[in-house]
Symmetry: C2
């Protein structure tokens, strides 16, 4: 075995091979994004000495690159929800999130998240994160005003709305435009910097974990200034190193479905090294096949009046769902093409407002003309539109249950956008698999036995969000910050190795 | 760490903790099904001393429970293919299998399989496995006559047929009825028994692997007669312990999609312990989310004249595909119900011949009556059947490309079967994830570095078969026997530890 392979994230180092500890701390944290920052603050506030190791030359991670919408609610509502007149029950939030996660839901983790989400809002406010008591009513992917509260998922759409009372839970920071991420991380970083017990080592790569004879994690090996350094962590290591978006080999191996996307969303450090380090000491990696993948066909919100079809001219989902739920369903379709059909009126400001960048595949003064331009089977789109338009008149989408507010007959002239992945439109994606953890952030093995001294949070762990079909914006930063805090607290409460 | 956790398959034992070797061999094999048996034969024939450890009191594994159809071809054809007039090219077989495996295909492994598949047939014949030079023409899930060759996948169906010349590659043993599995394992077992260098330990549980200081696998711990025994394996350990069908926790964690099935197919030993042992020493487990899951709507073959629909009365696949491809597509549908619609004539002998056990959801003297009975949106099934019947007349299925031989207008009276999983019909499933291996059977870590001394074959490895969408009957036993042989040869060619 070569020297190199000893510092491969998939091979831990044994403490007996550590000649000396070059650095010591109570809690070592890998990665300074939203999860790592929040973990450090909680661990320090509980009395532990903390070092954060960050690959980049500044804090931020993928949180800083995001909109930093944060999915919160329950317990009667956050301050903002209440001020905007929304009384959000924990049970409704729980039901929605359980449906969102699907058969792979971690019920205990989701329950804990929902029960403590309103308190998490207060904690963020105490850090100095600003939220305005205002509601952004328009259907949007992100809030481009400084308003706070918005619907960011499929809460008002079928089938969720039939089981859980909808409530907006996306909390956007009090800042103009899509600038929440940098502001959020600036505030978290200021909080880290002002705590004496936390130090940050930038431009430092975490190479591998260090374990003792019984398999407990007692430290990690880092590389800084071309030197390998053995770091002892008396209370353990928290992995907050992001997902594996940027590791093509891992994506191909674990989540080949995502290769249909066009744009990995995340920072260059999302190489899966944290997940690999956890696996190397026996941690279970779960839900590795799943990811967020989306066809973001709105804004403008008026696109919701349209219909998505496959190349058989069949609809396949209620078009008022969150864009990733539509994206996932689209990717399940047999055939070569996917279109989004909308009236010229509703297409309106699409050119100006869209993120998708889909090209126009056809236009028609009649449905027959559009069928022709799209190469659809003659009569097939007419059938679909006939049924749909009849349903629009009665106000009930008998087939896919799009909410009545979005039902309006599709009258020519019509526009068809080509929303086929790989044909020019933007199909963002990121991974949703990671280390299996308890709600405390403790990493577990395939038998769910705790691996002593090892914690994970944010995307390195497999959290509350489990699939594109049930994603809502704000769930990732919500999960990262919340799970980071819990891991920090748990590590700080553990016995310090002598 | 307790004594118990030391013999947990997810925690290897270190050789320094082995007080003495209780048993020694060159090659240790875990599991005596098709993979383990073939591995043992090859290793012994290459001069190694072999011990097979089998949990049950007899050989067999899941191979003995299967039909033991074996997917083989290429190189101009096996003896049977040639005798039946089929000239099978390696390239056509390769193209078909690559399409079958999808984005997660292991091209190198599939290439190797296709290039050596006809020779594998000869090897099996040399073992004494009997194949009759006859072709079973009827579309079937398994051959109930003693004929050999049959189409067992989607070779003749869209889209495969557009890219690879179809050829039947399922080889059924020369035995009446669905009795190939027991006969096959009887022959393999006789071959094992007559080799002096192979011994078999039945009723023996493999507990965990033993590794040395550099992480190489040097043996394993077994339990026999309530005693833990340390077994030294000078040339390594081959894991042939099946998949993880029978481990509910692993299925929920890794492949929750499969929980929609009703019946795990496999033997009680398919607990994932082999996969866990491999992971415990750094082996990568891949494709863990995938499985075979099927709605076996034929035989009788006449069912293929029917159409499968969702609860929007939309078709969703060409109905001449392999049953698991239809099953997979069915499971992607939005909605609560799935139906299979067929004429009363074609329904014919369904009651007698079917495996599915689906109940009749409705019958109709007219399409309108059937829509009514099924609670479908008025006019929706009529639309679908109108288009479909028009296409039957022209002989081209414009929407889903079912082959023209299966196109015949659906004329009332019609029968609708309820093929919704969970409503009475049989939905068999099994796992398709496992340890990542090279074609040689060598287990690799997430960086595809070889783990010295560790091999895997059959379902414990992730082989040539990767998803329900592209499954063909015979691929599992084909893969198990072929990959077992390669692992046996590779282990036997390695240097014996001093």
């Amino acid at each position: 075995m070569t020297e190199q392979s000893k510092t491969n994230p998939s091979q831990p180092r044994h403490s007996r091979d550590v000649a000396q500890w070059d650095m010591e701390t109570d809690v070592a944290i890998v990665g300074f994004g939203g999860a790592g920052g929040c973990a450090a603050i909680e661990a320090a506030d509980a009395g532990s000495e903390v070092i954060i190791f960050e690959l980049a030359s500044a804090s931020g991670g993928s949180t800083a690159m995001s909109s930093a919408e944060i999915y919160m609610g329950g317990s009667g509502g956050t301050r903002v929800q209440q001020a905007c007149g929304f009384d959000d029950s924990t049970e409704d939030m729980f039901t929605y999130m359980m449906m969102s996660a699907g058969p792979q839901a971690d019920e205990v983790k989701i329950r804990n998240y929902c029960e403590n989400s309103a308190a998490h809002f207060d904690w963020l406010v105490d850090l100095g994160v600003p939220f305005k008591d205002s509601f952004h009513e328009e259907r949007a992917i992100m809030c481009l005003t400084d308003d706070c509260l918005l619907y960011t998922g499929s809460e008002k759409a079928y089938p969720f709305v039939e089981h859980a009372k909808p409530c907006p839970r996306g909390h956007n920071l009090y800042v103009e435009g899509d600038n929440g991420g940098p502001l959020f991380m600036k505030i978290v970083t200021a909080n880290v910097d002002k705590r004496d017990h936390i130090s940050v080592e930038y431009e430092t790569r975490a190479l591998t974990l260090i374990i003792d004879d019984v398999g407990a994690v007692v430290g990690l090996v880092i590389r800084k200034d071309q030197k390998e350094i053995n770091v002892r962590a008396r209370q353990g290591v928290i992995l907050c190193a992001g997902g594996f978006n940027m590791n093509e080999e891992m994506v191909q191996k674990y989540a080949p479905m995502l290769t249909q996307g066009t744009e990995p969303i995340g920072n260059p450090g999302d190489t899966g090294s944290g997940i690999q380090m956890g696996m190397s000491v026996g941690g279970a990696a779960i839900n590795m096949h799943e990811g967020f993948i989306s066809i973001p066909y709105y804004p403008p919100a008026s696109m919701t009046f349209g219909i998505a079809i496959n190349d058989k001219a069949q609809r396949f989902i209620n078009e008022d769902v969150y864009h990733a739920r539509l994206g996932h369903a689209a990717l399940q379709q047999q055939g070569d093409r996917l279109y989004f059909i909308v009236t010229v009126d509703d297409y309106g400001s699409y050119e100006k407002m869209n993120f998708l960048g889909a090209s126009i595949a056809g236009t028609g003064e009649s449905v027959t003309e559009l069928e022709d331009e799209l190469g659809l089977r003659k009569g097939s789109l007419q059938q679909t539109i006939d049924l749909y338009n009849e349903d629009c008149v009665t106000g009930e989408d008998s087939q896919y249950h799009k909410a009545s507010q979005w039902l309006k007959p599709l009258e020519a002239p019509l526009v068809a956008l080509d929303i086929t992945p790989g044909r020019g439109c933007f199909v963002p994606w990121f991974t949703l698999g990671g280390l299996d953890t308890l709600p405390t952030g403790q990493v577990v093995d395939p038998q769910r036995q705790i691996i002593p001294g090892l914690y994970a949070a944010g995307r390195t762990a497999c959290g509350i969000v489990r699939r594109a079909e049930g994603y809502s914006s704000g769930m990732s930063v919500g999960d990262a910050t919340f799970s980071g805090r819990l891991a920090g607290k748990q590590a700080a409460s553990s016995t310090k190795a002598a």
